[in-house]
Amino acid sequence: MTTEYTTRMGDGQRIFMTREQILADLKEGMADATDLGEIPDLSEDELDKLVDIIAMPARMVGVEPGKEVPVTHDIGTIRIDGDQGNSGVGIPSSRLVGVMMHERAFGADTMELGHIDYSYKPVKPVISNEQQTMEVCQQNTIVPLLYGAMPNLGLYYTPDGPFENPGDLMKAFKIDEARASIEGAAKHATRDITWIMQKMMASGADGINFDTIGAAGDGDMFASLHAIEALRKEFPDIYIEAGMAGELTLGLHGDLQYDGKVLAGMWPHQQAEVVSKAGANIFGPVVNTNTSRSAAWNLGRAVTFVKAAVKASSIPCHVNMGMGVGGIPMFETPTIDAVSRASKAMVEVAGVDGI
């Protein structure tokens, strides 16, 4: 009887597959990435290595000695306290305690301070509170502490902001108006992010994390790249981490360019180039998980995309790994077997510099 190994579906369901089935799904996932991104296949050796990682008998796996990479956390400061079913564990604690726990107990190499709303725009009215918290955290820790949130261009459209919703305009065939709305929103977002970081840098922040660039499409990315550029110019030593929202930059505008390159339709290896050009220190590629496919399919796809990004990037790549990204199943608390296997694969096969 052929040996079957325990693995997962993209929604976290436990399934059993033979080595041959795992390899077939890895190849299929890889083929999807190479076809879409027009990037190279993984080698036979790399595919075999991925099969070995998935088929490892231990529930939790780790990288080989000497291959350890830096690990940072995004909204981790409020993950301890968070109690809304959003991955938080609901232990009453301040954001300072959250930072200190990650620094001193969990081994985080860098940390981020973030507000519960977790978008830049709503930080404006509470900037003094955020500055004070940053200062107190900096006085009590030595871990590099970034300020982070989502660029979230969606908050600049009605009913949350001054610009008409491009989705509504588009449905009414008002294409030019939709594009003008996106361009206006992007200018506001760039201005806000830059202003917020001027304040946070004055309070001792070590840098900024752009979390989920492109979540609201190419305008979101356009705003973020211009904010990165402005911040690099004003603060030459600022540490800028630019993490994406997905493997494909959605074209809600379609014609926005940065450095002469159309942003819509960019895949991770192309995103890396413009992010680096804008002045970021770290690129955070993201590949979303398809819940209807196996973990092997998703991992083959994610590793192929990320490997190409690592190769193309002139700055270090810290891949996003977590619920529903990086080949990890979409599940509220992703299982450690899937998280550790996908992370090991990203380090040892895709060659990422950090997570």
């Binding site: 929604d11 879409l36 809304q84 969606g154 949350d160 190419d218 959605l250 809600l252 379609g254 509220e332």
Partner: protein
């Protein structure tokens, strides 16, 4: 020019997203005596299908999809004169689409609405953070064939289940298809709550809506 070449010219005109090119290709096909239904099905609709594929592959973007849909609509309008009344402008189905209460995510749901609309469905996008009763009210008002329920957070996902329960309570469930989507939704979740389908992305939403309604 053979019929196949003519169909290709029509499809290419739609893919070019140019209304003038579509109008010219439609007039040319008419003058060659091709049936309006064939012009639409094998030419214009085939072009729109290709546009959908290119959108999914990151080669064309939302504005292009809308421009192509507008161009196709213009071509269909020209053909209406040659078609039996009521058949030309017939929509593929009526769909109510929205993001459930408590969830302010809008963009993914809007893309799905736009793609469904451009594929030929009559779409009533009722927005985001929609009170659950509003879905029921809109379904009744529009006599909808399908409702799309989006949720982007694990905390709002139960809203999808609640709407299905409300449809059952009000005796509407047998007459409407339910599609669910959004980052935390999955195929298994759709089965568990008794939805008719789950769509991973906008292109899949169109394909599944056609599968269920056309």
């Amino acid at each position: 020019m053979s019929k196949e070449e003519m169909f290709k010219e029509l499809a290419d005109a739609v893919i070019s997203c140019k209304k003038d090119a579509v109008d010219a290709a439609v007039e040319k096909a008419r003058s060659e005596g091709i049936e309006p239904a064939e012009i639409i099905e094998k030419g214009l609709a085939a072009g729109m299908n290709e546009v959908g594929i290119m959108f999914e592959r990151g080669k064309l973007f939302l504005p292009h999809v809308m421009l192509a849909a507008g161009a196709m609509e213009s071509g269909v309008t020209i053909l209406e004169a040659d078609m039996p009344k009521d058949t030309a402008s017939k929509k593929l189905g009526v769909i109510v689409n929205g993001t459930v209460e408590g969830d302010v995510h809008d963009i993914g749901k809007s893309i799905v609405s736009t793609m469904l609309q451009s594929a030929g469905f009559e779409v009533h996008d009722i927005g985001r953070d929609v009170p659950l009763q509003d879905f029921i009210d809109k379904i009744k008002e529009t006599n909808a064939d399908m409702v799309g329920l989006s949720a982007l957070m694990t905390t709002t996902l139960p809203g999808q289940k609640a709407v299905i329960e409300m449809l059952k309570e009000q005796g509407l469930r047998d007459n409407i298809k339910v599609m669910v989507g959004g980052a935390p939704a999955t195929e298994n979740w759709a089965k568990k709550i008794g939805a008719d389908c789950y769509a991973e992305n906008a292109s899949e939403a169109v394909a599944k809506a056609k599968e269920l309604l056309v």
